[in-house]
């Protein structure tokens, strides 16, 4: 369960504090419910994900995580460009306390990511799809209750998406997912509930379809 209580967030810009991105977001994400975040560009989806993931701090309000929450998987986050995929993976295994079964976890990551020889090349040479594969593989190597994904499946090819979907089906009994995506198909496939972010506020929908409808209504035709 994740409790988001009256969270306010704005970013520091070059000319003083910027506009409020989140203006009092209050939510409770129940256990074992996969949620999709919907909203226009700049609505604060990634911001909210980062705050839930504990990577960024709210200016006001608080977050309570009553589960093991993964780090937010997103574009390039958490990977050091100058190091190889293998070196990055080893680092992540180590900081999660898997020194003892390192080779086992590494095999699992390598197996999922299917990067071939590129696994030993620096991450900065990867395409965005390859990065996604690595990030996704990394997070699946650890047992989290909630996985946070910021468009991470978006860049992958069809085969990878199938694989990711299958992996999540497997996990569904023990883990859930909080994700941002602009692909409605992806959202419907992975999520049951939805959060619609609009004007710095969040609205909860028990059905992702309703959230998508609510979002669509605000788009001028």
């Amino acid at each position: 369960m994740i409790i988001v209580d009256d969270v306010y967030k704005r970013y520091q810009t070059d000319h003083g504090p910027g506009k409020w991105v989140l203006k009092g977001v209050t939510l409770t994400i129940p256990p074992k419910v996969s949620v999709g975040l919907i909203g226009g560009n700049g609505a604060g989806k990634s911001t909210l994900l980062r705050i839930i993931g504990g990577v960024d701090q709210p200016n006001r309000g608080r977050i309570e995580r009553r589960a093991r929450v993964s780090w937010p998987m997103g574009f390039g986050g958490g990977l050091q460009g100058s190091l190889t995929g293998r070196q990055n993976a080893k680092f992540v295994c180590r900081i999660h306390g898997h020194e003892n079964d390192l080779s086992e976890r590494m095999a699992c990551i390598q197996d999922f990511a299917e990067l071939g020889d590129a696994f030993d090349e620096p991450v900065k040479t990867y395409s965005s799809g390859m990065r996604s594969r690595l990030q996704f593989g990394l997070s699946l190597a650890f047992d989290f209750d909630i996985y946070i994904s910021d468009e991470v499946t978006g860049a992958g090819d069809a085969a990878f998406r199938e694989k990711a979907a299958a992996a999540f089906k497997n996990l569904a009994s023990q883990a859930s997912l909080i994700m941002v995506s602009h692909g409605e198909g992806t959202l419907k496939k992975f999520c049951s509930a939805g959060i619609w972010l609009h004007d710095g506020k969040a609205r909860w929908f028990n059905d992702i379809e309703d959230a998508i409808k609510a979002y669509r209504k605000t788009i001028p035709t």
């Binding site: 990577v55 050091q80 460009g81 100058s82 190091l83 900081i95």
Partner: protein
């Protein structure tokens, strides 16, 4: 427990990126001090300076330079420790203070190795480089490392909060090479200017290293080891306090 795994992982990661990114990255670690010592030695030999303060110029230069690099490399590595590791704060368990502490540890370790290699090299060329008082040398090196750590800790926070401070520190670090007595014996500076120069704890550190190598070295009388350590402790305390105070600001964007 988690902290130890994080530290270990960070240390290995930093070591890999410091030693193996780019072609023969490790060679460049050695090259900078070797180059500096060699060309100054050639210069001093050309103007017939064979001894400084009663000891061989080579020992004087080498001890001083390595001691200075111990400070400067630690300081700059630690200073940029936060911005260089920004990607890693994606993982909640990695804190900015971890990454800078580990960088300081790695740099101290590498500088010890570099110094050992350089002194062994000098021994092969027939210089008498066995320190008379090895503990005193280590004590001074350690003090300089601590000043580097404290300086880096405080400035790493400062440049994250106010990026312009980075440029200012660049201005300060450059003349520090001159006024710390790497090339110019502090003892030869007339009063009252010598007292001003000796406010700088790094100058004390350099003199202490040389004195450790050769007890007959005419070090400045004001040389004070406690001053080095007091200064180091004060900056480390300040740096840690800043890291604690701005812990959330540093990971916030």
């Amino acid at each position: 427990m988690i902290m130890l795994s994080v530290w270990k992982a960070l240390f290995l990661r930093e070591a890999v990126s410091r030693l193996s990114t780019g072609r023969v990255a490790w060679l460049w670690l050695l090259f900078e001090p070797v180059f500096n010592v060699t060309y100054m030695l050639v210069l001093y030999t050309a103007i017939r300076v064979h001894s400084v303060g009663g000891i061989d110029t080579a020992i004087w230069l080498m001890g001083g330079m390595l001691a200075f690099f111990m400070f400067r490399r630690t300081a700059t590595q630690v200073m940029y420790g936060i911005s260089a590791n920004q990607a890693l704060f994606t993982y909640r368990q990695v804190k900015p203070v971890d990454s800078v502490l580990i960088r300081a540890g790695l740099e101290g370790f590498l500088m010890i190795l570099v110094s050992l290699i350089l002194f062994s090299g000098a021994a092969l060329f027939g210089f008498d480089i066995i320190p008379a008082d090895p503990l005193a040398v280590l004590e001074a090196f350690f003090g300089l490392w601590m000043i580097g750590l404290g300086f880096g800790l405080a400035t790493s926070v400062a440049i994250e909060l106010v990026p312009e401070v980075g440029k200012l520190i660049g201005f300060i670090l450059r003349p520090l090479y001159m006024i710390s007595g790497v090339l110019l014996p502090i003892g030869s500076v007339p009063q009252p200017y010598r007292d001003y120069l000796l406010l700088n704890p790094i100058a004390h550190g350099l003199e202490a290293v040389r004195l450790g190598f050769a007890p007959n070295y005419h070090a400045v009388q004001e040389l004070s080891i406690p001053y080095i350590y007091a200064f180091a402790m004060a900056t480390i305390f300040l740096g840690l306090a800043l890291h604690k105070r701005f812990a959330t600001r540093l990971v916030m964007q």
